[in-house]
Symmetry: none
Subunit: 417 residues, 2 copies
């Protein structure tokens, strides 16, 4: 079964909202073994919607439409499909009652045009809407299955999860499952990564291996198809094993994790607290840590030491250090890491000092970064980076490298013990 998702709504074509529905539905369809070959977005225009449906019918046998089921004049999806399939719209009593109840609950007066939302395609399977008014529906004309869903994600998502997937599973002619796994890499570029495993990528048809780069990281998406879920997982395990044998040292996690989330996990495992002294990153490291709930058991806090005055007065960096080596230096990074840990009595101190750009500093080029890491009872380690990207990239890369180096040290010290 090959699916196409058609999102209806001019607000999408004006860029006022992003098409998150297509993403959500695609994820769910992969889980029940339905391929998605196309997404289409079309405005609230019946002729263009009709043409989009006709194109979809030529290349897909499942068409899922989102949006255009509402009460207003520009909601036309149902009407267009009805005309296209030569079907009538009939009043669905259950839907009508639930709409009336919806208004009663909200103590609001129901205007007449809301009844339009209870009109459904004749001979269709109704998908109840427990989070809004317009019901969804599914109809099969022999050549193609059409599923109509409401546009608001708050209504569409639970409807699709509870009623849509069940209705589709019955339709699926194959019981093949698609399982996907993402390996996350840091410290190696996309092209270099591909060079290392190009033969694997070219050999593979099932599972497939797809590289993707974003924000200074890259990922490999492994996708396996098999009737038996466990067998599919096993196929992924085998490919992952082959990849790890070559570039395993760059893999830091799976799927939607991040370097910050991995660092949090390691710190919690080891019950270690951390403090940060941030100069060029200006609070970005701590901001990202604190975006994760429950961080207070790990992050004690820290100092944004943007000026030399703060480095000296608050973090006790020696005037002599700054005069002799500058703030963008191994020595300054070391003192910052050690002193911030002492200041808030944390197990670990990490520091970021460098040249974010656009201008050079102390004669050091943009992208020169020193990261100090001081783990209680161990000698402070300072890593030097030469990034040379944009100001924004240099700052976010520095944070990623900080997490990466700290995770590495914590795991190595674990092996050492």
């Amino acid at each position: 079964m090959n699916a196409e998702i058609i999102a209806v709504g001019s607000e999408l074509l004006l860029g006022q909202i992003v098409n998150s529905n297509a993403r959500f539905i695609s994820q769910q369809l992969a889980g029940i073994g339905i391929n998605v070959f196309f997404h289409t977005v079309v405005g609230d225009n019946p002729d263009r919607l009709k043409s989009a449906i006709e194109i979809a019918e030529k290349r897909s046998n499942l068409i899922i439409l989102t949006g255009g089921l509402g009460p207003t004049k520009d909601d036309l999806t149902k009407e267009t499909i009805a005309r296209h399939l030569g079907k009538n719209l009939v009043m669905d009593q259950e839907a009508l009652e639930s709409i009336e109840l919806y208004f009663k609950k909200g103590n609001r007066v129901m205007t007449e045009n809301n009844k339009k939302q209870a009109l459904v395609l004749e001979d269709s399977t109704i998908l109840p809407n427990h989070h809004g008014m317009a019901p969804g529906m599914m109809v099969d004309n022999g050549n193609c299955v059409y599923m109509l869903l409401p546009g608001p994600p708050k209504e569409m998502e639970p409807m699709f999860l509870h009623f849509g997937t069940a209705a589709l599973s019955k339709q699926v002619k194959t019981d093949e499952k698609i399982v996907s796994r993402v390996l996350r890499f840091f410290g190696i570029g996309e092209a270099a990564l591909e060079t290392e495993i190009i033969d694997l990528i070219e050999q593979q048809t099932n599972p497939t291996i797809a590289p993707l780069a974003a924000d200074g990281e890259c990922t490999l998406r492994l996708t396996a198809k098999h009737q038996d879920l466990q067998t599919a997982e096993g196929m992924l395990d085998e490919v992952e094993g082959n990849i790890r044998a070559r570039v395993g040292q760059f893999i830091y996690g799976y799927d939607n994790t991040s370097l910050v989330a991995e660092l949090m996990r390691v710190l919690k495992d080891k019950k270690l607290t951390i403090a940060a002294a941030e100069s060029l990153t200006g609070g970005l490291f701590q901001q990202e840590l604190t975006s994760v709930p429950g961080v207070s058991s790990v992050l004690k806090g820290g100092v944004v030491c943007y000026t030399n005055e703060v480095k000296e007065k608050v973090l006790g960096v020696k005037k002599d250090t700054i005069e002799r080596h500058g703030v963008v230096s191994h020595e300054c990074a070391k003192e910052l890491a050690e002193n911030v840990a002492a200041l808030v009595s944390a197990d670990i101190g990490i520091s970021f000092t460098g040249v974010a750009g656009p201008d050079e500093l102390e004669g050091k080029p943009v992208g020169t970064v020193y990261i100090g890491i001081c783990i209680r009872g161990k000698q402070t380690v300072v890593e030097k980076l030469e990034l040379g990207g944009s100001r924004e990239a240099n700052r976010s890369r520095s944070v990623k490298y900080g997490c990466y180096y700290l995770i590495k040290q914590l795991k190595e010290s674990q092996k050492a013990n």
Copy 2:
């Protein structure tokens, strides 16, 4: 000129990422008066991509493709377009040099397959990539204009803003000038804003008034069309005047500015320095300030005081204050703001303490936030917020409110003098 945006990438069809590029480009095209009638998403498959292009050619005369320009085997957009249009791919020396430079700067070894990224369509206009490697390109075959852009938003967005829109403006076959102006609002919801000016919105055809809400702010995009640029600007001035007469107090800036950028501007004008004590925001305020170059003349630094220990030890909040009122309190916000300013001897101290969520704190509900503002020689003001959104929303809203209240105070004190 009617446009269609084709996003290429199997990761989109698997629902691993959302098609934010189509949204961004659509917003920009609206600004220069180009209609978007369709979005299409297709996987890394040359045949399906070719068919998507052929369909687009029948209904659009501008086709913008995103993704598939990278160095790896599954990046096929350029190759497919070249074959389809019967054009060669030629090595672009400038692009090649900038790619080599990119690796030199990063001290990384350039693998051979990276050169693939410097291949461009013959006779095409090159769109330089200042945030990555693969250049974009635009080619016009008489019937249709094709623009190829990289997939990663961090590369595509600046490329399209700086080079794409300019190249397209030349293509737009009309002597009518389209002028757009965005009014940025804070402190009023989209629905409330629309209610205040609904009659203006409905009357207007030229200029048009388009409301949009995002991240706790809302904007009105005013777009005027006229042969004479000055007349168009005058039309915008008149509409803006009518809007300001009703909701002017909520307007904080124009176009792509932000509350943080506006705050920076005011602080620089007044030659004032600032320091921050961040509890629930965890460094977000300072991180946003430091994302703007040249901030060092304004931001001295500050403390991320995530634990009570840091609030007491580093920022000298009285134990008694925390015991009697808690850390989520007017009193704690006041001491934090005053003490952080004193600690780093800044003119202004600002503090953020509250309950980001997901769990309540000290019996105070999620979204309870106190913002302390201490301006040298003035009595400290503490503002209380009751947000109650997601953790992420509560943190970013708090920073926006902090900027908003501080800008307001600085402007009022100006009037007072």
